[in-house]
Amino acid sequence: MTAPSSDQENLVRARATTIGLDLSPTCLPGVISNSALLTHYAKLVEQHTLPDTCEPAYEYIP
């Protein structure tokens, strides 16, 4: 496993601060690696240009 960059760490810490969450040193590596995984998935979803009329599925009916 490669060491997380300071940019990744700073981003995770900044986001945690905005929601009032203190990140302990023990959880930081795991949070950074999980955030990297979610960023990968976010890119897959965000590559799609959806029409403005495509609403979020708040009240989802299959």
Binding site: T26, Y41, A57
Partner: protein
Amino acid sequence: MTRFSSAHAIAEAIRSGKKSAVSTIQETLNTLRTQDHGIQSVTHLFADEALLQAQKIDAMRQAGQTLPPLAGVPFGVKDLFDIAGHVTTAGSIVLRNMPPAQKDAAIVQRLKAAGAIPVATLNMDEFAYGFATVNAHYGTTHNPHDLARMAGGSSGGSAAAVAAGFLPFALGSDTNGSIRIPASLCGVWGIKPTFGRLPRAGAYPFSASLDVVGSFASSLDDLITTFYVMDGSTPAPEPATDTLRVSRLGGWFASNLAPELVAALDRVCASLQTTSTVELPEVASARAASFLITAAEGGNLHLPRLRKQAEEYDPATRDRLIAGALLPSSTYLQAQRFRNWFRTKIHELFQKTDVLIAPAVMGEAPLLDAPTIMVDGKPVSARANLGLFTQPLSLPGLPVLCLPLKNTGSLPLGLQLVAAPGQEAALFSVARALKKSGLAGCVPLPEKEMA
């Protein structure tokens, strides 16, 4: 012996007076106390309450009353279903100081009204966030077919207890594959009903957009019977199998498969005379959207506790939940918008077909001490990737029946039968045909594990 008996057989023995409900429950409790050490499927027994309920059923019979259909049948619940008078821990110690549940979960109420008796809570990944049932607080559930292997998760205790023959059926929940993956790896029947069909009241939540409650069973008849009890409806007429348009899912769902699974899929499709293959669009994005929605909603759900008692969580669960809580809102909303787009595509597909066939998991259960699987020629974490084929089908909320394959020459392998929303009866029709043809059925344990 109640071990390996079906719910129908147990209920019939009690109804006919061959066995009492009390002796049935006593035998079941004894089996769970003495036979589960190597598997570790059980986290708590409801011995006193179960025996009390059994006494009431025996009293009803002695009084000449008509017994309900599942009278005296024992079952287990994933550790996230409320049982009145007990704290629902959801596979964690974080909730241990919460007040006991005031009433049973809705589907437990319906099953109890039909005479079934909850006897145990069953192990799971903490807060259902995993595919392995490797739990830092309550231990690892082992696969009854090979104790060195994963049972799958997150409802692994439920699948393992059914596969081991301890219980004829058990309840689980499925957000990204948590019924289908352990059902496949343990060789039992499983159903993830249409999103929203069964009431979730009293089931501890994980991801409100995706959570579905369902069940495992050792027999298809029991799976279907208990489904309609939980649904609170009378069984729907099943369409004749030969009138259904059955298609195989290709593309994403045809890659990374073990050779035994490819051969079994071929046999199943030949038996059903299925020649058409269809593909879902943007499957990788559908899986990603399911992943992101789960992470964001799970993270948000636990954020108040993560601020105060993060150290009490399983470290693996904690770090996933925190990462989910940190996701930008725009990412979550894009995933929810993509879900609606994908829904439209799914409905278009079901204009041309009725039932889809797909693998549930790519191969046999991974070894617990080498938890990797091969994806695109590379070893990757099993815990993160066992949902490769289940997660994309979670997103649209479709009903999926997980079917255990027989005679594969391997450890258990499973298929997903997928229908349009609300069309569970079509799944039951196809499953019955495959059972009748000998291609599907609960996979017997190897003799050394039966002892």
